[in-house]
């Protein structure tokens, strides 16, 4: 990701804490898909797969994870949730982002994943590089554009923004600590 994106995300992480930061990134991803021309995007702050996106002829169901470490948790309920979306014709994906200066989004084919802690190295062989290449610059742009307001307003602002952009939002907004 761009260094400016990294700096913005670092400030958001510091301001809101890891849990809400994860939710914010999830909403940024939804906005990035929408900005990239996804015809239908669902962002869930509640139970279920985090983001659904239809992009061209492809349908993606994404579990989103953010971390400062080398691995992310991938739970049985995530497997179940993605399997359910798979039955509806969605490609199950795990979107993971390390909050590090030289990191970028990993979109891994979740059909190959088993529950447990998942290192970024383990995700490498099953990355969807083409999707990563499309989403990362959009994500950078979204973060740069909405950073200041997000820093001040957090999720409520982003939910409003998502709705404005035609994203279906199923939310249970968490409050900042």
């Amino acid at each position: 990701m761009k260094t400016t994106t990294y700096e913005c995300l670092t400030r958001l992480h510091t301001r809101h804490g890891p849990r809400i930061f994860g939710k914010i990134c999830q909403k940024f991803v939804a906005l990035a898909f929408r900005a990239g021309g996804s015809s239908h995007v669902v962002e869930r702050g509640v139970q279920g797969v985090d983001v659904d996106a239809i992009w061209g002829t492809e349908r993606y169901a994404l579990e989103i994870r953010t971390t400062r470490t080398n691995s992310v948790p991938f739970l049985s309920k995530d497997v179940d949730g993605l399997a359910s979306r798979r039955q509806d014709g969605y490609r199950p994906m795990l979107g993971a982002l390390q909050l590090r200066v030289l990191a970028r989004w990993y979109f891994a084919n979740a059909a190959f994943l088993r529950p447990g802690p998942l290192t970024f190295d383990a995700m490498r062989p099953i990355r969807h590089r083409e999707l990563e290449g499309r989403v990362q610059p959009l994500f950078d742009t979204v973060v740069e554009r909405y950073f200041e307001e997000t820093l001040a307003g957090s999720q409520a602002y982003l939910d409003h923004l998502l709705r404005q952009h035609g994203v279906c939002v199923e939310c249970e907004t968490l409050s900042s600590p």
Binding site: T4, Y6, D121
Partner: protein, 721 residues
């Protein structure tokens, strides 16, 4: 089924000359002490069938690592083993040779002869042999040839080593070796090390980013305080254009030719512009006419001030000299008076000296007279020699009188001369002082004259003796001061304009600093897009895939090893149980099962349990474990009753067995011999006797005598049955 019929061993291991064995009976016993050649005989069969496959680490047998086939005690011997196998229809002679070729290289040869008289060699022979035997070396080890080492390893208490041994008994060494090799690659560790290095690199980038961000923020604050709230490249370029115009206008206003300064096309050209503009400002400051004028005025002022000082100092000097002269006049009455008095004094001194000389002359005369009188001592001393009158003590009186008068006179003259001399000295000093003062006064007057001329020259006019230079100078200096005041105001105004230009230059420099810092930050960002970084990412991907592939291979190998072990154990399960119970007759063991633990993607792990699944290991003795190893081997051998190889080779099977165990082993072997020919090697006399007495099949015995390097094994044939 193929059974061995004849074996000829020559130059193999401890063998020298050809030794021939015949396996015509269902059982053949090789009996002899340790190192007598029994195991080498069995090894010869193995090598003849499998060649290099039975040598090396992959066999899972430690002694086979670095195993030497040709007899090491013979200088130029070839190893040659000939084995005749036969089934109900045909016989086959397999001849394997290892010749010493050029440069001590060993050349292997294989020949296969058929009962119809035909034969084949090399690859064809190898291919035909494989078709004939229909077993790989690992199968041979599992079902035909029971190695001592494989049995010994089962006896270990270390679970991992026992699992290894059982794997070997089951012919799974190749899988275990593969798993060992995969583990030695340490792929995950290498990947972790690679990640650690990358993390360290990333940490350095992060630190650099933080440093640059801090620098950038400081520069932005400085720029804002200098009146540049938005330090952008375009802003700097616009400021540069304005500054250039400002400097041009200034030059024109000052009557100077504008300095050519190249305008920057981008932020990278700002430093060059700044340098050129700064030089232009310095030049303008130096070269603008008002500055020059001010400088000249200042120089003139300084020159006149110096002349004024010189004039004043010369005047002061002259006055001091006048005062000195007047003081001398008071003291001496004037220079002429000093000269006159000095002349008079000199004359008086001369007169005094004459008087003194005269007095001295008289004194000399009188002295001579007195001396004469004293020399004429014949005369009475109290008579005057001139008038002959009585003059008592005349000489004494004369001398005293003379001395008194003379001394008084000389003293007076001396005193006067002294006074005059002192006065003379004082007058001489006075005269000298007059001369000095006169000289100084002359010089002072010359200096004044010179100074006056210089002042006149500087002011551009002639100063006569009537003119007082001082007021003229003061008036001129006042005029210069006034002019300087006016000029200073003009120069200060111009300097203000140039200072503004310099302020603008500082702002441009600050903007450049900000833009440059931003650019440096962008270079960090560009790392991700750089070819080396992309190559590194690709390499990390490749490593990740490699690790993933290795893991898949490892899991597959483990799964196959597990599956094959399960199948073999299942096939031989009942026989193993039967043989084990028959061998041990353990009162606490009603049944034995060799349980293969559930596959967990790792190496095979076995558990010896009773019929209820209870772990038996803690209650099994070394003999029991040996019996277990034999039961496994013999069970697998019997389970492969439909194999093409119809014989079993056991090397020292009675090791660690007690008498009862041995007795039971003979019974088990009797059972095995129903389907297989037995080749047994032992050093155990008790076991030999038991075999002779209780093995119901006909048997041949080869006795192995003492082995010697020069003789090889001493083998004799006996037929106990």
């Amino acid at each position: 089924m193929l059974v061995p019929r004849r074996l000829v061993v020559q130059g193999f291991r401890g063998f020298r000359e050809p030794v021939e064995f015949h396996f015509t009976q269902p059982a053949t016993l090789l009996f002899g002490e340790n190192r007598s050649g029994k195991s080498s005989t069995l090894n010869a069969i193995e090598w003849c069938l499998f060649g290099d496959d039975c040598i090396g680490k992959q066999t899972g047998i430690r002694e086979r690592i670095g195993w030497i086939v040709p007899n090491g005690h013979m200088s130029a011997a070839d190893a040659c083993v000939e084995l005749e196998l036969a089934n109900s229809k045909n016989s086959y002679v397999i001849r394997r040779t290892l010749r010493k070729g050029a440069k001590k290289a060993l050349v292997g040869e294989l020949e296969l002869r058929f009962s119809d008289g035909t034969s084949c060699t090399a690859d064809v022979a190898q291919q035909r042999l494989a078709q004939l035997v229909k077993a790989e070396f690992r199968d041979f080890m599992t079902t035909v040839y029971q190695h001592q080492e494989a049995v010994r390893a089962v006896l270990t208490q270390e679970p991992r080593e026992r699992n290894d041994a059982i794997d070997r008994l089951l012919g799974l060494s190749v899988y275990r070796n593969l798993l060992d090799a995969l583990a030695k690659v340490k792929a995950a560790e290498r990947q972790r090390a690679m990640r650690a290095q990358f993390d360290a690199f990333e940490q350095r980038v992060q630190t650099a980013l933080q440093t640059r961000q801090r620098d950038l923020e400081e520069l932005r604050v400085e720029a804002a305080s200098a009146g540049v709230p938005l330090p952008k490249e375009a802003n700097a370029l616009a400021r540069a254009t304005r500054l250039q115009r400002l400097l041009d206008e200034f030059a024109t206003d000052s009557g100077l030719a504008p300095q050519p300064i190249a305008l920057p096309g981008s932020w990278t050209e700002l430093p060059a512009f700044e340098t050129a503009a700064r030089q232009a400002v310095v030049w303008l400051r130096t070269e603008m006419p008002s500055t020059k004028e001010q400088r000249e005025l200042y120089a003139r002022q300084q020159g006149l001030l110096k002349l004024k000082t010189d004039w004043e100092q010369a005047g002061v000097g002259r006055d001091a000299l006048g005062r000195g002269t007047r003081e001398l006049d008071v003291e001496f009455g004037g220079q002429r008076a000093v000269a006159a008095e000095l002349s008079a004094t000199l004359l008086s001194i001369e007169e005094g000296r004459i008087q003194l000389r005269q007095a001295n002359g008289r004194a000399a005369l009188v002295n001579e007279a007195i001396a004469y009188l004293e020399q004429a001592g014949a005369e009475p001393a109290d008579t005057c020699p001139l008038c002959s009158h009585s003059a008592p003590d005349l000489l004494t009186a004369l001398r005293r009188q003379w001395q008194e008068k003379l001394q008084a006179e000389v003293a007076t003259i001396d005193g006067r001369i002294q006074e005059l001399t002192q006065r003379k000295k004082k007058l001489e000093v006075g005269a000298q002082r007059y001369r000095d003062l006169n000289e100084q006064l002359q010089r002072s007057l010359q200096r004044l004259t010179l100074c006056r001329k210089e002042i006149g020259d500087r002011l551009g006019r002639t100063l006569g003796d009537d003119d007082d230079p001082l007021p003229i100078l003061v008036a001129e200096l006042e005029a210069i001061e006034e002019c300087g005041r006016k000029l200073r105001a003009v120069v200060e105004d111009k300097h203000r304009r140039l200072e503004e230009a310099e302020q603008e230059l500082r702002r441009i420099r600050l903007i450049h600093g900000v833009v440059h810092s931003e650019e440096k930050k962008r270079t960090l960002e560009a790392i991700q897009e750089s070819p080396p970084f992309k190559a590194l990412e690709a390499a990390r991907d490749a490593v990740a895939e490699w690790v993933c592939d290795l893991e898949a291979v490892r899991a597959s190998v483990a799964a196959v090893a597990h599956e094959e072990a399960g199948a073999k154990l299942k096939a031989a399960e009942r026989t193993i149980d039967t043989y084990f119970r028959a061998l041990t007759r353990h009162p606490a063991v009603q049944g034995v099962r060799l349980q293969l633990e559930e596959a967990r993607g790792q190496r095979n792990s076995y558990e010896v349990t009773d019929q209820d699944g209870k772990d038996l290991t803690p209650i099994l003795s070394q003999g029991d474990l040996n019996a277990l190893a034999l039961a496994i081997f013999l069970g697998l051998a019997s389970a492969s009753a439909d194999s093409d190889l119809g014989f079993v080779m056991l090397d020292d099977p009675s090791q660690s067995l007690g008498s009862e165990h041995k007795k039971q082993l003979v019974k088990v072997l009797d059972d095995v011999a129903q389907n297989k020919r037995l080749l047994l090697a032992t050093m155990d006399r008790e076991f030999r006797t038991l075999l002779a007495d209780h093995l119901q099949k006909a048997k041949t015995e080869y006795a192995f005598g003492e082995w010697g390097p020069e003789t090889g094994p001493r083998v004799t044939r006996d037929n106990p049955s």
